[in-house]
């Protein structure tokens, strides 16, 4: 017997033409014994057609030439800023690593790098967690990913985060398990005794709110 969730998914897949011919035939065969399902399917199909007919997939951009030229201008400005930043970094790096120009130290550094590389190759990255992509909404923040061989860990460094005021009390939970209710978009957190620690509910902006 199918769960309510699977039944919902069947209806959606039927509507979106994501069923095989056999699945579709079987789904539609149910309509005779389940007029409610038939009415639901028909109502959703009607709605889907109206939405498709009403909302355009493309809207001409107002002042399209200006749209493009402004993007080009911003890119040009970014290139200038980046070049300046690179020049400043290079200048500070070259003075910081001046000692590396000593021949014996350069040799030692190369040997150390070779050892690190060997350790990395031997450990292999296939068994390690991997970060495929990152995104930080705040433009003043940066996310840096490091695969740390020695600690056998993948590290995501979030740079540019505002510090938490020292006087603020950061309180932890010991969450034993959680239960989720998709209908009302809440997750209830329980401790090991089954007592509720908090409820995570999404507000109208899709942001989590901790109740309790």
């Amino acid at each position: 017997m199918k769960t309510p969730s699977e039944e919902n998914h069947d209806l959606i897949r039927w509507l979106d033409d994501e069923m095989t011919v056999g699945e579709r035939r079987a789904f539609e065969a149910n309509w005779q014994s389940d007029p409610e399902l038939a009415a639901e399917a028909e109502s959703m199909r009607w709605l889907s057609e109206r939405i498709k007919a009403h909302l355009p997939a493309e809207i001409p951009v107002p002042h399209a030439d200006f749209f493009n030229s402004q993007i080009q201008a911003r890119i040009a400005q970014m290139e200038v800023d980046d070049a300046r930043e690179r020049a400043e970094t290079a200048a500070s790096t070259s003075s910081r690593f001046l000692w590396l120009r000593l021949p014996w130290l350069a040799g030692a550094a190369a040997a150390a790098l070779a050892i690190v590389g060997l350790v990395w190759t031997q450990s292999g990255s296939s068994g390690c967690s991997t970060i495929l992509s990152t995104y930080t909404p705040n433009p003043s923040m940066k996310a840096q990913v490091i695969e740390h061989v020695d600690a056998v860990a993948t590290v995501l460094l979030l740079e540019g985060l505002d510090p938490i005021p020292a006087e603020k009390k950061v309180v932890g939970f010991h969450v034993h398990h959680a239960e989720s209710d998709a209908e009302v978009a809440t997750t209830t957190l329980f401790d090991e005794n089954g007592a509720v620690l908090a409820v995570v509910a999404l507000n109208a902006q899709g942001q989590p709110q901790m109740l309790k």
């Binding site: 109502s43 889907s48 009403h54 809207i59 001409p60 107002p62 402004q70 999404l202 899709g206």
Partner: protein, 205 residues
Amino acid sequence: MSAAPAATDPVEQQLDVDLVIRSQAGDTRAFDLLVTRYRSRIYAMTYHLVRNDTEAWDLAQEAFIKAWRALPNFKQDAAFYTWLYRIAHNVTCDWLRKKKIQGDGEFDDEHTNHRAMPGSRTMPQGFDTPDRAIKRQELGQRIDQAIARLSVDHRQAVMLREIEGLSYEEMAEVMGCSLGTVMSRLFYARKKLQEMLKDTYENPI
């Protein structure tokens, strides 16, 4: 997700893949062609989500700027448009969260009513009588308002499927979730729309 429409202009016939490679090498003219190719679709997406001309314009531009910044890391393992769309989706959803306008049910009567581009698959077919045209416009407004009242996740699911025509796999990629979540969001979004537009179904135009 479909790529650029077929064109006879040799410039427009250039493949995304070639333009992306040239852009990655720093060719801003190649990137300009990509902007021209996809700006209407990206702008439509940002407009449908934020429902304000000026903000949608800025957000679409921001998406292209972020894409340019991120191009060196783009491995072409997905279609360029899918990748670009995801960036635009992230930029817009984050902006909505900041502005706290998501799903708050506030309708602005001054919002511009956009019309579909000529030749778009979404253009209503046939000719209406004046009375029928007015009713269709009313239904359009009701649909706009109902979609505006959905949460960002649900609104996005409806748009990706009904407007963009993405497959479930592509939707999961753009929305950063599983296929099951895609189906659940589509189901609940449509249930909510159905409820809000129930009277129009019972008294069809």
